[in-house]
Symmetry: C2
Subunit: 354 residues, 2 copies
């Protein structure tokens, strides 16, 4: 298959759909078959076409990491969004405007946020679902488990908010090797279950306990505490998750680049650099030609070392180390069927406030 | 000043305009006052509003690093563009279509590209300006000086191409400390002058000798060989160029982010991570609060360490290590006048083929 432009993100549709089906089946079959809700994370793909497919296949809605993502998804017809990171001050009125159209939730990690969110919702005549963001030891955002009940009470006190539960996202567990990951997860599960029991005792039982990601999904589903999980990367995978070796998802997203210069024996130059392949995470891996390595060579170029037969005008194929920030650099996913036909899916949430 | 969303790129208009004026004055006053052409590099800002301002102030046109940038700029009314990197196979027909509207040039580093470009231009009934891309020892693209005359002859043989000269971009000199930079530049200038003399003797005198960047601009202008220079970063600057210490341009672009979480004594969390602050180049520098450092904390978040008084809801200001790939992550520049009024300039060339 040959995308119309390069560099281009190309998705193998069959592999992606198999990944979506596998995660949905795992969720449906969990919770002693009562099921655990799948709320796929839209921050990974920023693509409402892919988000709608996840929902058609059984997801209850999408997670968003930014207000801009929530706006894009709601305007694209997605009916239930949850903003999974604390909202900046300017964001509350915009979320309240969205909540006039569909169910909108947001996590909070301070009483000030509860007050701002509640005030904005009240002014707009809507109700926002509010979740206490629990810090499971990542140190990025969230409140310590000991402070969750107090913040839940602040949320309950806000007329514009509906207390919907708690979020606990263990980002620091996602990429651990299997045995360490299971141990860290088991330890955290005990603490999370204790927190839920404490909230129940205080009359603040969480309707939803949401969290989890691609790396811990199997553990999250088996834990018996989460009512909803939030994985993102499973849909297309990347080098970082693939190399864990224990996840039942296939690589489905590749970057196609053109060889634009071939005047050296040591390497050829492709039209993909810092602006097309985000350097966060493991290095981009060259899939074709096999046996070559990729090295960035500026904002718009990279070197394929050695060329291994790649010559001027050829396509080179790579897999990304960490898929999320690379997708955020592009305009579209080119989704390929088994015959190599391509469909263009806009990365439409790549806009506004990132 | 307070941008309507965060993270946001905010440009101090006075500082930017002073940078544009300083570079234009240096170009106008060079070449023993016959002037050296300024063709500002549009890959840095990807913003046609800023590009038009550069042309209003005296630039002859814009450089582009991609076909997509050239398309955006021409459709936005910019009248003379040069693609400064070898064009992938799919790009020639698109450039030829643009050349029906305005002057379009492209560099080439192989006879195959000359053939493809010439064929596309002929088919479209246009003429493309063609430049031989010379590799001054960067090893990224371009032909060795010894091979320039042969490629120039291939260009001359193509009916759809007009042989317009040569390009020599010394990217590997731009960030050297002042003394090393001057020495490397002097060495290269001798070789470049010899190449030009050789081409003249062969009846292939280059009308234009184009190249150079922000780091070497003063040297390029004094060298007496370049007829046109291609700087980009001078317009807004970044940490990498500012820290060289010898460039007469002021920092004019800053990133504003919101503190969204403040539950730790060690740091506060802002809404700017890998997707808002590209990690290439030196680390992002915290301007406000003074004395703090920035550390990425995921795709959408970062930590300000220590908080130094920043609290939830506050704006934090940063300067970027390497400005080009960070601008390419955003939708707009918010251009601030001295009263703090903001104008939104779309980063409209952030699209299509990057």
């Amino acid at each position: 298959m040959k995308p119309p432009i390069t560099p281009a993100l190309v998705v193998r549709r069959a592999a992606m759909e198999a990944n979506l089906a596998a995660m949905q089946a795992a969720c449906t079959g969990a919770g002693d078959a009562g099921g655990v809700r799948l709320r796929a994370h839209g921050k990974m793909h920023k693509c409402s076409t892919l988000g709608r497919l996840q929902i058609e296949m059984g997801a209850v809605g999408l997670c968003c990491q930014t207000v801009g993502e929530a706006e894009t998804y709601v305007h694209a017809g997605i009916g239930d969004v949850l903003v999974t990171a604390p909202v900046p001050p300017w964001g509350w009125a915009r979320l309240a405007a969205l909540a006039g159209r569909t169910r909108v939730g947001a996590v909070m990690d301070s009483a000030a946020q509860a007050q701002q969110g509640g005030t904005a919702a009240l002014a707009a005549g809507v109700v926002l679902d509010a979740y206490v963001d629990v810090d499971p030891g990542m140190g990025r955002a969230g409140v310590a488990p000991a402070d969750v009940a107090a913040l839940a009470a602040s949320i309950v006190a806000q007329q514009g908010l509906r207390y919907a539960g708690i979020q606990a996202y263990c980002g620091h567990h996602q990429h651990l090797p299997p045995a360490q990951r299971a141990a860290a997860h088991a330890d955290w599960t005990v603490r999370l279950a204790a927190l839920v029991a404490q909230l129940q005792a205080a009359g603040l039982a969480p309707e939803q306990v949401t969290g989890g990601g691609t790396g811990t999904a199997a553990l999250d589903l088996a834990a018996g505490v989460y009512t909803e999980i939030q994985p993102g990367s499973y849909a297309v995978m990347d080098v970082e998750y693939g190399d864990l070796g224990d996840l039942p998802f296939a690589p489905a997203l590749f970057v196609a680049a053109s060889v634009v210069s071939a005047n050296h024996a040591s390497h050829v130059t492709i039209d993909a650099g810092h602006k097309a392949l985000h350097p966060n995470g493991p290095a981009s891996r060259v899939v074709l030609p096999p046996g070559s390595a990729y090295r960035p060579a500026g904002d718009e170029h990279g070197a394929i070392i050695p060329p291994n037969g790649a010559s001027e005008g050829d396509l080179v194929w790579l897999q990304q180390g960490h898929v999320d920030p690379t997708i955020a650099l592009h305009d579209a996913l080119f989704v390929a069927d088994e015959d190599g036909n391509l469909e263009r899916w806009p990365i439409d949430a790549r806009r506004a406030s990132l």
